[in-house]
Symmetry: C2
């Protein structure tokens, strides 16, 4: 059995965790990043280079059985340069769509997947159109390059729209989208995988809470499933439609808003997709039979997918991000059952430095442990 | 928080799995091995050198926060060379004892831990003594350097003892021990950890089946615990006595025979100890809250131990070794819930190439999956 080699464009924590999963399968990993200090560098054959250095990218891809990405904003020309030497999965179409919020929304619409009311904004005139068609409160987002709450602004009046919108438009050559902000009941995400031969597998729904635009906590299976199982089914079915529609190979995440009033969930609105493993899926390392990282490695290398069931049938999981500062390591390691992940990144405000997962079957005991973790890992931006 | 660096003498699969666990904690790992192709080399700062090259060992140890070993037969002089530059854990005493079966037996005896009836054999005259004092069937084992069934022979008569014993004695400068072979009910092992400040944690008892002297399967928690809970308690208590007696820091394994007749367990006999993580503990990666690998990393680096409870309270685990040949990877990956580990070693008869772990709560379902794995992974030597 020949050894397999996976190439990963990007060397951040997602590449690190892909490499950890690959290592267990005896798969070697080569990473490519502009920084020699990238988190994944310690445990991979790490190559340093610029993404627009197509010769370096070609040398990186040569000898890999497949190449994948740990972030969506990989330039199309970089993917092409890699694809001349190794299969790139998922395919460039997935990246093109995921890199542009308007294209994402177009895809969802074409598959009958509801989204927030929105319009594209390419000019100040379009801002007026948004005021008419979308209404308030409104959130303006750059079509390209935004993440973790960056490249967005919330506006509550025509005046704010015209002034803040014009400023954001100036900063964003690709234009903006304007979303009607839903009355949020909750936020959920689906992590799903599709193999090279079309086999699909979906994880239990994740329920997510963000703070300052950054993921704070994920619960899985999503508690909303107890009151509104149809929300779970609709979200997971939507993800499968997307996977098939773009012939996707690998793990993908789709984030949804659940719009609701007076505490009752009303409907599911697809917000965005990520053509990669996702922060809301980190809990799968200890909480599921096969982690999202392992399933992504399996899928892109043409291997069969693994079970996405919870580790044991009654298991529930919580994950908390460690952001901006790392708590006292001793205290963190002493939280009973805490599964601690530290990415080896220098601390910086609003930077994701690690995460902690709790897995158990007793909701009350889990909740007790959550309080300890929440206090230890408290962060502001 | 400064980054921690762990040095591991040896680069085999135990070092590989230590490095995988360390990676999740943001700890970097440096390994030292005679081979550049050692399994751990892909994911560590791997140094190639001979263990008797004390300058190379010193350079390896310099800059490590602690140094540990992934195999017990590290020469004392190598440990000393490393210890001049970094704390070596566990301490050299643990290695000295674990490297010599007679010293192991002496330690067990000093702590009131029952062992098989045995005598030391340094000369052909001692073989006569063994025939008198130990009886048949008898197993002769080299005091030093044996593993996976090597350096042993079973004898059933005085004549076999004198002839095969003499041959084995010739091959073993350190001498032999002669054990009365127990009527085996089962074999169990305790994996236990002790931190630098004396905190201890023990895993659920493991029940093990060997084939041709090589571990075939481990079940945890040990099924014997349902009929004979005192066996479980005695084994775990014995392990704690050993940990404290030699001021051990890290994870240790002690293997026991359970002597029994007519299907009823009679008593626990301590066979040997390993001053390292152990094959019978691989199931802890998915089956326990904190793996043996992570607890060893935590302990030797002076960090608090993590919970050794099963991942969820009702979970049960099985692990099968992959020996000599790797089954069709696709088929292996398709076994529902199979947690596959491949070490990246070239196949060779009787060589450990990987393992598969199953975790679940339904004994019957687990058994069904076990049959598939057993068939896929069948091996002969």
């Amino acid at each position: 059995m020949p050894d397999l080699r996976l190439g990963v464009l990007g060397g951040g924590q997602l590449a690190l965790m892909l490499a950890q999963a690959a290592s267990s399968l005896g798969v070697s990993v080569r990473t490519f990043d502009e920084s020699s200090e990238a988190p994944a560098a310690r445990i991979t054959d790490h190559r340093v280079g610029r993404f627009d250095d197509h010769e370096a990218v070609a040398r990186f891809a040569e000898g890999c059985d497949a190449v994948t990405c740990e972030f969506e904003n990989v330039p199309a020309s970089t993917l092409e340069a890699a694809a001349r030497h190794a299969p790139v999965r998922p395919n460039p179409t997935a990246f093109a769509i995921a890199q542009d919020r308007a294209l994402e929304r177009g895809l969802f619409a074409s598959l009958g997947i509801p989204t927030p009311t929105w319009v594209a904004v390419a000019s100040p005139e379009d801002l007026d159109r948004a005021i008419e068609a979308v209404g308030f409160p409104m959130i303006l987002k750059t079509r390209r390059m935004g993440y973790d709450g960056k490249g967005q602004c919330v506006v509550r009046s025509p005046e704010e729209t015209r002034t803040q919108g014009a400023a954001l438009l100036d900063s964003a050559p690709g234009g903006l989208i304007a979303d009607r902000m839903a009355t949020l009941h909750s936020e959920v995400s689906v992590i799903a995988a599709r193999s090279a031969d079309g086999q699909v597998a979906k994880y239990p729904l994740c329920q997510n809470v963000h703070r300052h635009g950054i993921l704070w906590r994920t619960h899985a299976p999503a508690p909303i499933g107890e009151d509104a199982p149809e929300i779970v089914e609709n979200a997971r079915a939507a993800a499968l439609r997307v996977l098939h529609a773009i012939d996707y190979v690998g793990v993908m995440a789709i984030e949804f808003f659940v719009e609701g009033e007076n505490g009752a969930p009303l409907c599911l609105l697809a917000n965005e997709m990520a053509p990669r493993v996702h922060n809301t899926g980190h809990w799968t390392i200890e909480g599921a039979s096969t982690s999202q990282f392992e399933n992504h490695v399996r899928a892109v290398l043409g291997l069969p997918l693994g079970s996405t069931a919870m580790t044991t049938p009654e298991a529930i999981a919580s994950m908390y991000n460690i952001v901006g500062r790392v708590p006292d390591r001793g205290s963190l390691l002493e939280v009973p059952g805490a599964r601690v992940h530290l990415y080896g990144k220098p601390p910086r405000r609003a930077r994701k430095l690690g995460h902690v997962t709790l897995v158990g079957t007793d909701a009350r005991e889990l909740s007790r442990r959550e309080k300890i973790v929440e206090e230890l890992c408290a962060w502001e931006v």
